[in-house]
């Protein structure tokens, strides 16, 4: 049952992702950087909830703190900086990185009732 849900949501996401030529517009590290971080963007689009859930358990329960699939990493790289004020937009603000797709598919994001929505003070840019 759960798998069907994953596949279904996956399709839902694919259709949206396909609608975009380059979703990474805006003023974020990810849009500006030439470095390719994800091996396969369509896999990330489809599977990022599973990756994040898997990683969160490993980090919280087992203390595995690698950069791979860390939510902090997503936020750091994908948060847009406002051109005028030079402040970060929250990734879950309207039309920002996370909510852009999630709005369209009406899937609520529960991450940010607890997690920080902008890069933290210690973030010094991509390494």
């Amino acid at each position: 049952m759960y798998r069907f849900l994953v596949v279904f949501i996956g399709f839902a996401f694919m259709s949206i992702a396909n609608a975009y030529e380059n979703p990474l517009t805006g003023n974020s590290e990810a849009a500006k950087s030439s470095k390719q971080y994800h091996e396969n963007v369509s896999v990330i689009r489809k599977m990022h909830p599973e990756f994040l859930n898997h990683k969160r358990d490993k980090t919280l329960r087992q203390g595995v703190r690698t950069e791979e699939n860390s939510l902090k990493g997503c936020v750091n790289c994908h948060a847009n900086k406002d051109e005028t004020t030079n402040e970060y937009h929250s990734v879950n603000d309207k039309d920002q990185f996370c909510s852009d797709c999630h709005q369209q598919v009406s899937v609520s994001v529960d991450c940010f009732s607890c997690h920080r929505t902008t890069p933290g003070a210690s973030y010094k840019g991509v390494r």
Partner: protein, 244 residues
């Protein structure tokens, strides 16, 4: 250095050396194993603990520990919550012996029990103990039933009573879930000491691996008399006190 040290000099030099040795030593011991620690799951070969010497810890030290914790995790500045509704991960307690009248100040936080009552009662496994003895709340699973707060003998847990924004990047916190001292697990995993321990510039608070026979905490615990709060409950706490 003259052969006969006077008392003041002795204290000065030893504090300076112990402090620096402690910082370096803890750095070394912690980083040597920490080379790959972040990639591998933690194991039960370690048990993190803390020894608090209330005779040497001043009230200012304790206030400093509380401030350091607030700064590290961002609790205590909730806008709407009042009084007991505000989060409180570590607090300063003053206790008076009823017979002798001796007053002791001590910091009280999650005691990181080996047999944590909060973990036993949690219906969803959100309250959990890591293999290395650190007791945490998995806020992904917490439904906010607050049974763990009923069960905790140390009143160590707080319920977030309002919406929060601008959390610290290493410490997600949110409305409707329960939280408590994490022993600065994000720092420990990087080989650093918890913020409160680092804020005290003496050996009044020692942090380390209780199982490691070479660790300072293990060796000190072998020498000095120490106590657990509510030892009668047999919870085998990770936080120990000497001087109470």
């Amino acid at each position: 250095m003259s052969k006969t040290l006077n008392r003041r000099d002795f204290i000065k030099t030893t504090t300076a050396t112990t402090a620096s040795v402690a910082t370096i030593a803890s750095g070394i011991t912690l980083t040597t194993f920490a080379a790959n620690a972040n990639e591998n799951p933690v194991t039960n070969e370690k048990r993190w603990g803390m020894l608090i010497d209330t005779n040497r810890l001043t009230e200012a030290n304790i206030d400093g520990m509380v401030t350091a914790c607030k700064k590290e995790h961002g609790w205590g500045s909730e806008a709407h919550s009042t009084g007991d509704q505000k989060s409180n991960w570590i607090r300063k307690l003053k206790v008076k012996d009823k017979a002798t009248g001796k007053v002791t100040s001590l910091p009280l936080m999650c005691q990181h029990c080996e047999e944590p009552p909060c973990v036993d009662v949690c219906p969803t496994n959100a309250s959990m103990k890591r293999e290395d003895g650190i007791v945490l709340v998995d806020r992904h699973l917490c439904i906010g039933c607050r049974y763990c707060m009923m069960a905790c003998p140390y009143d160590a847990r707080s319920f977030v009573h309002e919406d929060l924004t601008d959390q610290k990047e290493d410490m997600p916190r949110g409305k409707g879930t329960v939280e408590s001292c994490t022993l600065c697990v994000h720092k420990v995993d990087k080989g650093e000491a918890p913020a409160c321990v680092a804020s005290v510039n003496s050996d009044a608070v020692i942090f380390g691996d209780l199982y490691d026979a070479n660790s300072k905490i293990n060796q000190t615990l072998k020498k000095v008399q120490s106590a657990q709060i509510r030892a009668d409950l047999n919870l085998n706490t990770g936080v120990r006190y000497s001087g109470i």
